[in-house]
């Protein structure tokens, strides 16, 4: 390369050196404290679901007679409930139910919502109008009412609650996926791909899908938090897993009866739900930013 070309080349080098997408090792070093903490929270809760026995010696369902309603102490970090069960152990064991529920919910929403949005955004015409009006009517019904109706149809239980929560989020995923697909479809590179002889499905797979998924994944992380919240809500209302399952929403509901005598029974699981939701939120935001 001769010297007179350095101007353009420098520009390319600068563009390459921009902080937008450094290698991920460098990104890890620059990880903000709040994001690191969020990842830590999610990772911890994850290991709870896989290996709860590593974190507590107590059982999640069986109480110790004579140790009812003890306040937080060295022996019982978060205290015990009305049947003498260690609250910390119940939260750790309960992660499995709340988290797997949230996963199923997000998976249902992500899969069906994205599929609907993709079809609507890429095909257009009457099909788009039909799908989007369906989605709109789904959005018009209050989400809690909608999930309750679905549960009544499917029957009670953790998985059914998760499916109900997921079905409600299909509308949000579909809307976002459609708008992203429409944005990408208008771009020059998609037209160029058709112009070089690409078939509809090839262009969809090579360009539209990869370029519109970032925002959808970010929404999935966000939705993970709200799904935990929604599942807890339904558990609290008594539609989820039956006692003595230590599902988080159920824990809060059971603690309600002792609110004046044992504040920790509602506060501790409530706080855990808040932390996990906040962490999922923070991670979602950073996914969104890295895609922009």
């Amino acid at each position: 390369m001769t010297s007179r070309e350095t101007g353009e080349d420098d520009l390319a080098l600068i563009v390459e050196a921009l902080p937008a997408r450094p290698p991920w090792t460098a990104r890890l070093k620059r990880l903000s404290p709040s994001l690191a903490l969020s990842c830590l929270v999610i990772a911890l809760v994850f290991t709870w679901t896989l290996l709860p026995q590593l974190f507590t010696g107590y059982s999640g369902t069986e109480g110790v007679p004579g140790e009812q309603l003890q306040p937080p102490s060295a022996e019982h970090v978060l205290g015990t409930d009305g049947l003498g069960r260690d609250l910390y152990a119940r939260i750790v064991y309960g992660a499995r139910y709340s988290l797997s529920g949230a996963f199923v919910a997000v998976a249902v929403g992500l899969l069906f919502g994205t599929l609907l949005g993709l079809i609507a955004g890429s095909r257009g015409g009457w099909l788009e109008a039909l799908i989007m009006r369906l989605v709109d009517s789904l959005l018009a019904v209050p989400s809690l009412l909608l999930s309750l109706s679905i549960i009544v149809l499917l029957g009670f239980g953790t998985i059914n609650v998760a499916i109900a929560v997921g079905a409600v989020s299909v509308a949000r995923f579909a809307r976002l996926a459609r708008s992203e697909v429409v944005r990408v479809r208008r771009s020059d590179y998609v037209e160029a791909a058709f112009g070089s002889g690409g078939t509809f499905w090839a262009v969809l797979r090579r360009h539209v899908l990869p370029n519109s998924l970032t925002s959808v994944i970010a929404l999935a992380a966000l939705q993970f938090g709200s799904a935990i919240l929604a599942i807890s809500t339904l558990g609290f209302l008594g539609y989820g897993a039956p006692p003595p399952t230590p599902e988080w929403g159920l824990l809060i509901a059971e603690g309600r009866n002792y609110l004046s005598r044992a504040w920790w029974l509602t506060a501790a699981p409530g706080l855990v739900v808040v932390l996990v939701v906040l962490a999922a939120d923070r991670i979602s935001k950073s996914i969104q930013r890295s895609g922009a």
Binding site: T6, D10, Y189, E191, A192, G195, S196, N211
Partner: protein, 548 residues
């Protein structure tokens, strides 16, 4: 010599990028005397806009003046706070911004936006300001002023919006106006009227102008002195005539030789073979678009366009924005179904093709887009971008595909190391080379170039034009070159169609159309091209070599 109004002394500016600072302006010094027009000329990334922003105290949040002084009538304002600068911005120094589309508030009338600058600086009561607003609108040629004052930006054309911005800039009779690429987004005929207006107002009020531009032609026509910037350093400065007649720096010489100009000879005359061997034949092409919310009403974007292009030659379709030239290009490559007319490419009627037949037809004709930042998928590597068209037709073994891609990348002058890069790691010129490689990898006979060099700096533009010319010679390609830039068209095409508001107003061999235009519109277009006073340097043969 009088004391300078603006004196920039050894100015250095850096931008914070992640955890380090990137210096973009390295010790720039120049001055502007009262009543003088100084042009800051340079390509993108030369630091010309950064320098101008620093004078106004409008550097982006991550920008910082490292050293140097900016003296306005002798006072150094480089270290001033934003609050102190507010007192002089608009009143002593004002700005004409680049993009009239986004520089006005869309939800307020132009009258109220013009009044705002006077209200901020407390010039007179409501009534006095209102009278002044109407005066100013009349002065910049927006009449009837009463009506214009009540209009919103979206009701005005690009040129009219730029007039509003000029009115805002001159409202308080500042001593210095900084015009940052004031006409780059406008058509040439509008550009000339806007530059004339700035000139008149400047003479009336004795204002100095710091004109920031990438267009050497504009600078040559309008400025008293030139400051040529490259990579944040001054290459050369002096009176326009001296710099252009005897450029001292190699960079200025290169800019001059690369700038397209009407006076320049064509790169290489195509050897148009048999006059009956036509690559493209367009006959009575008409395109109507439905008007949004207009029911059955339609807008006629193209009205009876007809031309013939011989194989191996270049035909240009020229027009201003909204003329229908892009519509024509899109119809010819088969992205639009014309309302009426016939388009023959390689003897096939594009307008009758549908579905699979249309897809098969794509390998005969390819389109290169204006914006190389939007036409490449940001998630693909260069290799995958160029390989993709090959996957769409008869299966080819992976090794053959890789060989074809390498061959094509070499042909467009890019090194093989670029194959693994993503578009974001390439400059504008390099991206356009990738786009050309993608278009050519299927071996099409016809290439449609839709403003394919308009978004590039002149030196890069000259290199891409040289590349296109070389490829035409070796591959026997036929080009349909859609452009607004007559100087470029004159340089590379054999025949031309000039279109205005959807109608063809001129057509034929380039020499004939440029020497004896049939229509007044073509004559206007030719006369509006800036840089008629610019000396012509022979095209630099080095422009062809190397990659950008």
């Amino acid at each position: 010599m009088t004391a300078p109004l603006l004196e920039v002394d050894d100015l250095a500016i850096a931008y914070r990028m992640g955890d380090h600072e990137q210096r973009v302006v390295h010790g720039v010094s120049f001055h502007v005397a009262p009543g003088e027009v100084v042009a800051l000329v340079g390509e993108s990334g030369s630091g010309k806009t950064t320098t101008a922003q620093a004078v106004l105290g409008l550097l982006a949040g991550n920008g910082r003046i490292e050293r140097g002084a900016i003296r306005l009538s002798g006072t150094d304002i480089a270290g001033w706070s934003q609050r102190r600068l507010d007192a002089i911005r608009g009143a002593v120094v004002s700005l004409i911004p680049q993009d009239p589309g986004s520089s006005l508030n869309p939800v307020r009338t132009v009258g109220s936006q013009l009044a705002e600058v006077m209200q901020i600086h407390k010039r007179g009561d409501r009534k006095a300001i209102r009278t002044r607003v109407l005066d100013l609108l009349t002065r910049v040629g927006l009449m009837p002023a009463e009506m214009r004052a009540r209009q919103y930006p979206h009701e005005l054309s690009g040129g009219m919006r730029q007039r509003v911005l000029i009115a805002i800039a001159v409202a308080l009779k500042p001593k210095l106006i900084i015009a940052d690429e004031p006409t780059s987004a406008l058509d040439v005929t509008v550009q000339r009227r806007i530059l004339d207006l700035i000139d008149e107002l400047r003479r009336e009020n004795g204002t100095s102008v710091l004109l920031v531009t990438h267009d050497l032609g504009v600078a040559a026509d309008r400025a008293d002195r030139l400051v040529v910037l490259q990579g944040g350093r001054i290459q050369e400065q002096g009176p326009v005539k001296d710099v252009l007649a005897a450029p001292a720096s190699a960079y200025t010489r290169r800019l001059l030789s690369d700038a397209p100009s009407l006076a320049k000879p064509r790169l290489r005359r195509s050897v148009g073979g048999d006059a009956t061997d036509l690559a493209i034949e367009v006959d009575g092409l008409t395109q109507d678009f439905p008007i949004a919310g207009g029911g059955a009403k339609t807008f006629r974007a193209l009205d009876g366009l007809s031309f013939k292009v011989r194989r191996g030659t270049t035909h240009a379709v020229v027009g201003e924005s909204g003329s229908g030239k892009t519509t024509a290009a899109r119809s010819i490559v088969g992205f639009l179904k014309p309302t009426a007319g016939r388009i023959l490419v390689d003897g096939m009627d594009v307008t009758t093709l549908r579905g699979e037949a249309l897809r098969r037809f794509r390998r005969h004709i390819q389109l290169v887009y204006q914006n190389p930042f939007g036409s490449l998928d940001p998630r693909q590597t260069v290799f995958h971008i160029v390989e993709e068209p090959l996957l769409n037709f008869e299966p080819i073994a992976a090794a053959d595909r890789a060989r074809k891609v390498r061959d094509m990348i070499g042909r467009v002058g890019l090194p093989e190391a670029f194959l693994t890069r993503h578009p974001r790691g390439l400059s504008g010129g390099q991206r356009q080379r990738v786009a050309i490689a993608r278009a050519l990898v299927l071996g099409p006979r016809v290439l449609v170039l839709d403003e394919a060099v308009s978004a590039l700096d002149v030196t890069v533009q000259a290199q891409i034009l040289a590349l296109l010319d070389e490829l035409q010679g070796t591959l026997g390609l036929t080009y349909l070159f859609v452009s607004h830039d007559l100087a470029v068209v004159q340089q590379i095409s054999d025949t031309v169609s000039v279109i205005h508001k959807g109608r063809q107003v001129d057509g034929g061999p380039v020499e004939r159309v440029f020497a004896r235009p049939d229509s007044d519109y073509t004559r206007d277009l030719i006369e509006a091209i800036p840089g008629r006073g610019m000396p012509v340097l022979a095209s630099n043969p080095d422009s062809r070599a190397g990659f950008i």
